[in-house]
């Protein structure tokens, strides 16, 4: 069992890097063409003061792109994986508090966002998806060395 894991682990790391990296890259790239909307999505969570929410709305998509690129090419995988997991944890907390407070918002994870009709919310599936992505980030923190990485 342990031997099998040792053989599979570099490939699992590669897979985790590509999935988490691609999701972050796509999520960021989809938001960049409409950053005022991204800022609106962050405001809709009603967690942060408006100027900070707006600032985050403009910067977060680029940070997602940066983390995605680092993970895909395989550089600073340990730190990027940890940062990716922390980002996902922040998203999970944000979505969960919106759900608990009875807000009706779109998570704005891949563009979009803002207040929507209550029947259109899908908090549970968003949280489950982000837990899965957070798990990939944690795996990368624990096992950063994998196949096809620039950093050996």
């Amino acid at each position: 069992m342990a031997d099998k894991f040792r053989v599979a682990q570099p490939w699992l790391t590669l897979l985790a890097r590509l999935i988490l990296g691609a999701v972050l890259l796509v999520a960021g790239a989809l938001k960049v063409p409409n950053l005022p909307k991204s800022a609106m999505a962050v405001r809709a969570y009603e967690m942060l003061p408006i100027p900070i929410a707006n600032f985050l709305g403009y910067t977060l998509p680029w940070i997602e792109i940066g983390l995605g690129l680092l993970l895909i090419v395989g550089v600073t995988v340990k730190i990027s994986g940890a940062l990716g997991a922390l980002t996902m944890l922040a998203f999970i907390i944000a979505i969960a508090q919106a759900w608990a407070r009875g807000l009706s918002i779109d998570c704005g994870c891949f563009g979009g966002g803002g207040t929507i009709d209550p029947e259109d919310t899908k908090y549970l599936s968003e949280i489950i998806r982000d837990i899965g992505l957070m798990a990939l980030g944690i795996f990368l923190y624990l096992y950063p060395k994998g196949r096809f990485a620039i950093e050996k």
Binding site: L35, P36, G66
Partner: protein, 224 residues
């Protein structure tokens, strides 16, 4: 392996440097390109103090603020449901009504918002507002809304002046739409449509979709 270590490190640092560069340039460029302009034309009816909205009945009270995007289907539904009553309120000067055309959906929202502002200069904003929603297409940014479409919509409600044509064609108020967006961000507007009376949100779950409750909410805010 050992011989390769030096170049591996170099590649690693180069890649980190490039990614950091992309992120930094991206962030800086994003803030600059989305910054509201300070040098731009605004329609006569627009007031900076009212979030750069188009103001009707500036001296009346109470104040009703309406944020819409001309391509947003829920805004069309809202207009068709409550637009008639709102234009009554405006015509009878029962309230100051401020329209904020947002442009989150994209290029054709900007074309429409510009045309609506041009119509405001012809004292035809309310008609243009309704006509734009009636003309809304099925899909967003499909290429259907261009300058000529706006001129045709304007003509259908009786705007034939050269100043309107020029205003639409030259996009006189395109820059102004950015200021409307920025002002809405500082007022925590997170959805279209958003309707506030005296700065207070109407209840999205009940008062938006029901003409009776909508009227009651406006009445509670002081619309007699």
């Amino acid at each position: 392996m050992a011989a390769n270590n030096g170049s591996d490190k170099g590649t690693r640092n180069l890649v980190i440097g490039m990614v950091v560069f992309i992120v930094a340039v991206g962030i800086i460029f994003s803030f600059i390109s989305n910054r509201a302009s300070s040098n731009f034309a605004i329609p006569a009816a627009v007031s900076e103090a009212d979030g750069y909205g188009i103001v009707l009945n500036p001296t009346a009270t109470p104040t009703i603020d309406v944020w819409v995007d001309y391509q947003c289907p829920a805004c069309r539904t809202f207009e068709l449901l409550h637009g008639g009553y709102l234009s009554e309120v405006i015509a009878q000067k029962k309230a100051k009504v401020v329209f904020h055309p947002l442009t989150f959906i994209g290029a054709e929202s900007i074309i429409a918002a510009n045309a609506a502002a041009c119509a405001a200069d012809e004292n035809k904003f309310v008609d243009m507002n309704l006509a734009l929603f009636q003309n809304q297409g099925g899909s967003e940014n499909s290429g259907r809304w261009q300058g000529d479409t706006m001129l045709a919509i304007g003509e259908s409600i009786g705007i034939k002046s050269d100043s309107f044509k020029q205003c639409v064609r030259e996009g006189n108020y395109v820059k102004w739409t950015r200021n409307v967006t920025e002002a809405s961000a500082s007022k925590n507007v997170n959805s279209t449509p958003t309707i506030r009376i005296n700065g207070k949100d109407l209840d999205r779950n009940t008062e938006y979709g029901d003409p009776v409750k909508f009227k009651a909410a406006l009445a509670a805010g002081g619309v007699k």
